[in-house]
């Protein structure tokens, strides 16, 4: 079976600093795949490159059989690939409704009305707060908004960069429950996390990134009990 996203031998650098050195991975339709690794391992860089925000030095990125290398970010989105960025980056001076509207920027109003219903089902809190300015939401609500906003484009693949960052444990659980729900509803998910425990427990498959290269791969369940992974990322 051809994979939905296929990344081969990806190299990315910022000036002289090589952030990603030969990363390859695949995501199949319907999966939750996670990239775990320490700060600076190259996880976010990989996602930003796939999303078209950064140009790779070399390597290939194929989505649904088409190359994404050199395609600018605003066109990558139209092909069905959305990134919910690290640090949420909601438009703090715009209302919740306007943020969601921006998420559906490339789609028609009629499509957006329909998608909005679906998003409010997953995130009822956003419906309650739709008139509120996004900057006044709590961290957890902003994360929900960022995810809802990314979903407005009806992506085939949703990439989530550190959705649990800075959230209280109970909210982390809530966010991961929603990630599972979204996946069950048909969205393929690529999840980047420092919270390896959570990520591995929801993921079908996982890749461990260290200093810009893939060190290990396996199913989420396998890596949860892997000795090296336990030592390095799960606190023993």
């Amino acid at each position: 079976m051809a994979s939905l996203l296929s990344v081969r031998d990806l190299h990315v650098s910022y000036g002289a600093i090589k952030a990603v050195r030969g990363v390859s991975f695949d995501i199949n339709e319907g999966e939750i795949v996670t990239l775990i690794g320490a700060n600076g391992a190259g996880k976010s860089t990989t996602l930003n490159t796939v999303a078209g925000l950064i140009r790779p030095d070399s390597g290939s990125v194929e989505f649904g059989g088409d190359s994404l290398v050199g395609v600018p970010a605003h066109k990558v989105l139209k092909r069905g690939l959305a990134l919910c960025p690290e640090g949420r980056r909601v438009f703090t001076q715009m209302s919740v409704a306007e943020n969601l509207e921006m998420g559906g920027y490339t789609r028609t109003d009629a499509e957006n009305r329909e998608t909005l219903e679906m998003i409010f089902e997953h995130f009822p809190r956003l419906k309650e707060r739709r008139g509120q300015v996004a900057g006044t939401l709590s961290g957890g609500e902003q994360q929900m908004l960022a995810m809802g906003r990314a979903l407005m484009s009806r992506p085939r693949l949703l990439m989530l960069d550190e959705p649990s960052m800075g959230l209280a444990p109970i909210l982390v659980q809530e966010i991961f429950d929603i990630v599972k729900q979204l996946n069950e509803a048909g969205t393929t998910i690529l999840l980047v996390e420092q919270n390896a425990n959570m990520a591995l427990s929801v993921a079908d498959r996982a890749y461990v990134l260290e200093i810009g290269t893939i060190k290990k791969t396996g199913t989420g369940a396998e890596l949860l009990v892997d000795d090296d992974v336990r030592k390095a990322y799960l606190g023993g």
């Binding site: 925000l53 990134l83 980056r89 438009f91 715009m94 509207e101 921006m102 920027y105």
Partner: protein
């Protein structure tokens, strides 16, 4: 009383022109954090086009207005494409210096083509005064104020309600996140330049209507004062630009009415100094958190 009212109207007229020009400064600053020092010179382009169309080609004032606004819009967008867009990822100082260079280029270019002498722009209309409840009011002044009100309302609606306006706000807050929404950042920036320059084009026509001349360096002082107005109101803020423009216009009017017209420029810059000392973010400006 009549005298007082007509002075008020003059202040309002001048302030409206400053406001229209200040809007362009503020919009461009809001979206790419650039102080576009060439913006004032766009006015000059508009005034020359009005002169060309009416005095040289003998066409109607309506054509002059349309072509002036169109030329300003085009020049504004071209400046961005040619001079600023290649520097989008360069340090902010490089693009600022480029803006100053573009300003000199336009001023000297105009001098080369049209000569250093001021050209007389013909009157746009024979109607010089209108009667309102026993008062005789200057028509250009009334028209200026009305046009500015309409333009400001239209701009506010555009930015707050339209899809493109919302995209402008999204780009201005977080360019990377806007890209991830599928927004074409480059065309959004072009659109911002187009709108700001069109407003300057309207300002150019209104200015030429009031002061009936075009000269290569006319945009310099006008642009600088509109810039002061934008800073006064809080650069990046649309209501700020309008309020700032009106304050600068009234300040000049008051100084002139007191018989101290040689001091009017100094008073405007004194206002700038006071604002920078007392409230550097301007009247409507908010303290911006540094982007990480």
């Amino acid at each position: 009383m009549d005298m007082f009212l007509s002075q008020m109207l003059n202040g309002l007229q001048l302030g409206s022109i400053y406001a229209l020009v200040a809007l362009g400064y503020t919009m461009v600053y809001g979206i790419i954090l650039l102080l576009n020092f060439a913006h004032g010179d766009i006015i000059m382009v508009g005034a020359y086009v009005s002169w060309l169309v009416m005095a040289q080609l003998g066409l109607s004032p309506v054509v002059a207005v349309l072509l002036s606004v169109a030329a300003c819009t085009l020049v504004g967008v071209l400046i961005d494409k040619v001079a600023y867009a290649p520097l989008r990822n360069a340090p902010r100082l490089s693009i600022l210096i480029t803006a100053i260079g573009v300003s000199y280029f336009l001023e000297n270019g105009a001098q080369l083509v049209f000569g250093a002498d001021a050209k007389r722009v013909p009157a746009f209309t024979d109607l010089q005064t209108i009667q309102l409840g026993g008062l005789s009011l200057s028509f250009p002044a009334v028209a200026t104020v009305l046009v500015t009100i309409v333009a400001t309302v239209a701009l506010t609606l555009l930015v707050q309600k339209s899809k493109l306006g919302k995209a402008m706000r999204a780009v201005s807050e977080d360019m990377g996140a806007a890209r991830l929404m599928g927004i074409n950042v480059n065309s959004t920036i072009s659109f911002t330049f187009a709108v700001g320059s069109a407003l300057a084009g309207i300002g150019a026509v209104l200015y030429a209507m009031a002061y009936t001349q075009a000269s290569p360096t006319m945009g310099m002082m006008l642009g600088t004062k509109a810039f002061v107005a934008a800073v006064l109101g809080g650069i990046g803020s649309i209501p700020g630009a309008v309020v700032g423009g009106l304050i600068v216009g009234f300040a000049e009017m008051v100084v002139t009415a007191l018989g101290l017209s040689v001091w009017k420029d100094a008073v405007v810059f004194l206002l700038l100094i006071i604002v920078l000392v007392v409230r550097p973010t301007g009247i409507f400006g908010r303290t911006m958190s540094e982007k990480v």
